[in-house]
């Protein structure tokens, strides 16, 4: 399994390397101007020259992403559990969840600036809001997918509601919640960037917006590259978390 995983990572690394090489070669042959499409080597030089500055902004974006993501997991599991607590309540609350989810969250971003100012708060709020629905939906799905027989056994054994929740329902829903988290972490990153687009003096979203203002395409691409790596790392973190938290699924 471990060998399989490192194999997949190696294969992924090779394909990315091939893409960058192709980009470099074609870019050089066509003589395209860096202001339109900079070469990977130029981006790399920029990153290496200013790595402290990029790191600083990347850390800021990572922190707001993680804060929004963690809030979305806690909130999503709580809301999902509450919605799933009874069938009639679910019939009432679920359409509300779906309706709210269909509002494009990006469009609400300016509103959060009005409400919360230009600090980290609106970024975290948007990162939370954009990710929380994935968690709610998957928590609901996970809780609903527990076999009736299992719940019947718990009833016959007279487990107290809290004990049944923590010993049966929550672990039963965990694989589904983790699947939701994998989607949510990428969405949180989108939310944090959108928040930085709207108004910010920090973060990779700010870097992109300010570089756009001066037509510094190399800098835009450098920020994009950092974002790509960040997105990959966050996803890898979730895969790792999944393997640690659901060891019984490793054998399948």
């Amino acid at each position: 399994m471990k060998r399989l995983l490192t194999g997949a990572v190696a294969a992924g690394g090779v394909s990315i390397l091939v893409l960058l090489l192709l980009w470099e070669v074609l870019g050089r042959l066509s003589g395209i101007r860096p202001i339109v499409l900079p070469l990977p080597s130029q981006v790399l030089v920029e990153l290496l020259a200013e790595w402290r500055w990029y790191l600083d902004h990347a850390v800021y974006t990572t922190l707001t992403t993680m804060a929004g993501f963690i809030l979305s997991v806690v909130g999503g599991v709580l809301i999902g559990t509450a919605v799933a607590s009874s069938r009639s309540w679910e019939r009432f609350a679920y359409p509300l969840v779906v309706a709210l989810n269909s509002v494009p969250k990006v469009a609400v971003a300016p509103l959060f600036v009005i409400w919360m100012g230009t600090g980290w708060e609106p970024k975290v709020a948007i990162a939370f809001l954009i990710a929380v629905f994935a968690i709610i939906v998957d928590t609901l799905h996970g809780l609903r997918s527990i076999p009736q027989d299992v719940l019947d056994v718990a009833r016959v054994l007279k487990g107290r509601p809290l004990a049944v929740f923590f010993k049966v329902r929550l672990p039963g829903a965990l694989p589904s919640i983790l699947a939701g988290m994998k989607v949510a972490v990428s969405l949180s990153l989108v939310g944090a960037i959108v928040g930085e687009f709207v108004s910010s003096q920090k973060g990779l979203g700010y870097v992109i917006m300010s570089a756009q203002g001066t037509f510094d395409t190399v800098r835009v691409f450098a920020a994009l590259m950092v974002l790509a790596v960040l997105g990959l790392l966050l996803y890898a973190l979730l895969v790792l978390l999944e393997r640690v938290l659901t060891p019984w699924r490793r054998h399948s």
Binding site: P147, D149, R155, P171, W248, S252
Partner: protein
Amino acid sequence: MTPVNVSAQEVSKRFAGPRGVQALQSVDAEIGAGRFVSILGPSGCGKSTFLRCLAGLETISGGRLQIAGQDVQGPPDGIGIVFQQHALLEWRSVRDNILLPLEFAGKPVANYAAKVDHLLAMTGLKNFAHSYPQELSGGMKQRAAICRALIDDPALLLMDEPFGALDALTRDQMNAELQRIWLATGNTVIFVTHGIAEAVFLGDEVLVFSPRPGRVAHRLRIDLPRPRPLAVRETPEFGRYVGEIRELFGTMGLLDEKGAIAS
């Protein structure tokens, strides 16, 4: 725990709803303490519903249903249950699955280590205590589910087609094992099945249910000495019991020409 008797008088069950189904009508049954009783019937005859009423998972609509002289209101104390699907928690090892009833009952799990070992040895799962359910075969999962049902010494063991999803060979094996376990534990067992041979092989008594609405159509005492070897099924006595039940199903119009129970 000392085994308990079960008594059903005129028990009826009607499922609510616009097309409410009368699942049980006037079910009468007296099941003595420590008896192994098979409930036999075709699909949809209400035999599982009857078992669920006993487990307190469904409420009866009429009549009287008692376990050890107590009216059943919600899940009674001291029962173990096994379903057709193992219903094990896939994130717990076999051992931790077996301990679940004790955790729910708030009993000190550490005191039961020897008991778990004993049950695992009795069911041939000794080497699989730390395996996850999905690493086990179907028969082994059902054995683990039986261990879970037995860990807290139930006075009454309810089994709802526990071997229905197993292949014929495993099923035979499990029948022999269940008899052995029951002879060792001596609790009252109510065993729901749609297999005639299985019902006769295991039961001290067979209650034959007729469908729509479900009621006890026939009550048959099985006077075969115990322990019964699997080969008992080739004896003429066994054949007579099976024949009697087949005939009964025939008169109910439940048998087609091939002799299988129509569902």
